[in-house]
């Protein structure tokens, strides 16, 4: 680009005698990616989240939740971004899935068939809808920050959708993404079945 970096640096150096500190301090902050060890969850937990996520967003002719490892990103976000009450609600939601598998089928969730898993989570999804609707009515007029948390399964579902569609595969193989569109067209022809833009 047109700015002459060397010239600028020379001038700054001449004026100040100040050497620049590290390159990072000059830039936007870039944070390192997380590891499993940095989350509050184990590899087994993450594998479980992936299995749950796969029921919510299964592999079809395009990748599903397990393919993009939503479980890991769920663990990262619950660990780092969630408040303590949100973390508790999420964990409660997971515990509920495990307990419901036992009470309904007498088996671990991971040993259920696909149909059983789907039926179980669909019933939890219905329960969550009823719960959330009631909570919404009860908290009408209450400020957002003071509104009660949604049902634990809702958090799990939201996290699955978020971590799936913000993943590279979700954004580019399930949805559409163009890094540098170069132009804006506000009347792009669309036919049913065309995929949505990731953002």
């Amino acid at each position: 680009m047109s700015m002459n970096r060397r010239e600028l640096l020379k001038m700054i150096a001449a004026a100040t005698g100040t050497a620049f500190v590290s390159a990072n301090a000059m830039a936007y902050v870039t944070l390192p990616m997380k590891t499993v060890q940095e989350t509050a969850f184990s590899k087994d937990d993450i594998a479980f989240f992936n299995e749950v996520g796969e029921v919510i967003i299964p592999r079809t002719d395009t990748p599903g939740a397990k393919d993009v490892n939503v479980g890991f990103m769920m663990a990262v976000i619950v660990t780092d971004c969630y408040t303590a009450p949100q973390q508790a609600a999420f964990k409660d939601g997971i515990a509920k899935i495990k307990a419901l598998a036992k009470s309904t089928y007498g088996k671990d969730f991971l040993l259920l068939s696909n149909d059983e898993r789907t039926s179980l989570l669909a019933s939890l999804n219905d329960e969550a809808d009823v719960f959330n609707t009631k909570a919404k009515l009860a908290s009408k007029g209450v400020k957002d920050a003071e509104k009660p948390l949604p049902h634990g399964f809702t958090l799990i579902k939201q996290l699955t959708l978020f971590t799936f569609f913000t993943s590279k595969e979700g954004a580019t193989k399930v949805l559409r993404y163009v890094a540098i569109p170069g132009r804006y067209d506000g009347e792009l022809p669309y036919k049913k079945g065309d995929r949505a833009w990731a953002t």
Binding site: N4, R5, L8, T18, L31, K157, G186, E187, Y190
Partner: protein
């Protein structure tokens, strides 16, 4: 220091400081630009500019640690992973909230020119006269005609895209081709035109995102990535780094010194002029003095006033410019976070391509022409229409392949807009020094005592209802008004505190942005604003800065400064 004398010193490197540096260096002055924060170099230091959501450890979301570190910033949208580090460290630089005030600052090269909203509108003739006509605060010492040629000048250089609409309420400028409205917005515009018989308009946003390249300045037109806040590697929008700084550097007349907190303007009471500035190095705490013939104070509205308050206190207890009794007073912002959204039926065979970093604008129509309300001044709307994405509420979809397929396709079209309202200058809305609290460098901090008053509160009723009426008139469905609550500062348009005026007894600056009590000191950022209008203010700072720089150099030539 071997050489600590310059023709001019510019305090701050944001939108107005960059313009001051460009204009003064191009006119041949040797200029020192002082920036309190770190350097950020164009392109090279835009370290997140090519990142996608999946390249961030938290996909761009804020963490509890970030929330802990940014107790003010956390209150609104700017706190997120991609722009981390572009907001002032609140622990190093605290302030006091007598009343809640959300102050979103950027202490680094380029300031908030890297993270601004880019909407660029001119004040109109009425904006410069309303105070006088209505007996509010004081009269602007200048009129639209004084600024108009400078608007032309800065628009051409900065690169503003927009349509020419021939409206008195929103004067046309020197624009590149506008960014297009989409099919829904176009139809809504036509219906508004018809229903409101030419009294209300919906036009493309006027934005500093370019639609035509500027090869001479090494700038490419906008690539529709909508990642402006990460710094644009194409130079597609105006920032100090993309536009004014390279121009200033090219002259060979510019020296830039980062990590330089200006603590005081050195005042010569015999000559009634500033001699220079005192600086503390933000990293080493060493102190320096630099001298100059003239001084441009462009530290951002409140910090420019903070600097005046800390200067010449041996003569005026309240600091340089306080003899007016108005220094620190008449804080303004734009009150907003209110409007409406709606669903749009049809257009299912249409979609959009590209991420347009702008939208539509509905210019002010209240208290304009024959319209009279139970409040004065008015508001404009900014909004857009688009098809819903995967984040839409799909409760009925349940889980599984059906859900996945449904949200992999775009949803219905929706439309929304937010009103930006004018806030009146009020003496009781003020900032002041709180000497009981100090920042990391031992400097006194600002305290904020600002609130919206009855005029703004009455205006807000229209700001919501008119949005509802407009969408209903345009045939939108499920129209919902909203008021997300507003606290001063959230507009990130802080203005006033060192207003321009015609009388040194009631204003801090004269009609050329000179401090009455030190004519070689120019304040040309938002601090100078005598009233706020309802349009985004940065373009006006650019124009006033270029105008004041031209005046300053002429005065220097005449030997008056």
């Amino acid at each position: 220091m071997k050489n600590n004398h310059y023709d001019a010193i510019v305090v701050g490197s944001g939108i107005s400081g960059g313009w001051a540096a460009k204009e003064l260096t191009e006119k041949g002055l040797k200029v020192l630009m002082l920036e309190r924060g770190r350097n950020i170099e164009h392109v090279k230091d835009y370290t997140n500019a090519h990142k996608e959501a999946w390249d961030y450890p938290h996909r761009g979301e804020r963490t509890q640690e970030m929330i802990e570190n940014y107790p003010v910033l956390k209150r609104d949208y700017p706190l997120n992973e991609p722009t981390l580090g572009m907001w002032t460290n609140e622990k190093d630089s605290p302030y006091v909230e007598e009343k809640r005030f959300d102050w979103f600052r950027g202490y680094h090269m380029g300031g908030r020119s890297l993270t601004w909203g880019r909407q660029s509108y001119r004040l109109n003739k009425e904006d410069f006269q309303a105070n006088a006509k209505e007996g509010i605060a004081v009269d602007w010492p200048i009129r639209y005609e004084d600024v108009s040629p400078w608007y032309d000048y800065v628009e051409r250089f900065a690169g503003i895209s927009g349509s020419k609409d021939g409206l008195d309420v929103l004067p046309d400028g020197e624009y590149q081709t506008p960014m297009p409205l989409n099919c829904v917005e176009k139809d809504v515009a036509a219906r508004i035109q018809k229903t409101f018989k030419g009294q209300r308009h919906l036009i493309p946003g006027r934005t500093s995102n370019m639609t035509e390249p500027k090869p001479k300045e090494g700038r490419t037109n906008c690539q529709y990535r909508n990642k402006c806040w990460l710094g644009c590697p194409f130079g597609g929008y105006f920032s100090t780094q993309s536009s004014t700084l390279p121009a200033a550097v090219k002259t060979g007349n510019l020296t830039v010194r980062p990590y330089s907190i200006v603590t005081e303007i050195l005042y010569d009471k015999d000559k009634k002029r500033a001699k220079g500035v005192a600086v503390i190095d933000a990293e080493t705490n060493e102190t320096y003095e630099f001298t100059s013939k003239i001084l441009f104070v462009n530290a951002s509205s409140f910090n420019s006033t903070w600097l005046l308050m800390n200067s010449a206190t041996d003569i005026w207890q309240g600091g340089l410019g306080s003899s007016s009794g108005e220094l620190g007073h008449n804080v303004m912002d734009h009150h907003f976070r209110i409007g409406a959204h709606a669903m749009v039926e049809g257009y299912e065979d249409k979609y959009h391509y590209g991420r347009r970093p702008s939208g539509f604008y509905v210019p002010r129509f209240r208290n304009w022409g024959d319209d009279k309300r139970d409040y004065v001044r008015g508001f404009g709307y900014q909004g857009s229409a688009s098809r819903q994405g995967w984040g839409r509420d799909v409760a009925e979809m349940g889980i599984g392949a059906d859900l996945k397929n449904a949200i992999s396709e775009p949803g219905s079209w929706q439309i929304g807009m937010t009103a930006f309202g004018e806030m009146l200058p009020d003496h009781s809305n003020r900032i002041f020094l709180d000497k009981t609290k100090r920042d990391k460098w031992g400097l006194p901090v600002l305290a904020m005592d600002v609130e919206i008053k009855d005029n703004e509160k009455r205006m807000r009723k229209d700001m919501m209802q008119d949005a509802i009426d407009i969408f209903e008139a345009a045939g939108m469905k499920n129209v919902q008004g909203y008021d997300a609550d507003y606290f001063p500062g959230q507009g990130i348009h802080e203005m006033g505190t060192a207003r321009m005026g015609r009388d040194p007894k009631t204003s801090v600056l004269n009609g050329n942005n000179q401090v009455w009590d030190a004519l070689n000191v120019f304040v040309t950022d938002g601090a100078c604003m005598t009233s706020a209008s309802c349009v985004n203010p940065s373009l006006t700072y650019m124009a006033l800065t270029a105008r004041a720089a031209d005046f300053a150099v002429e005065e220097l030539k005449k030997g008056n400064l």
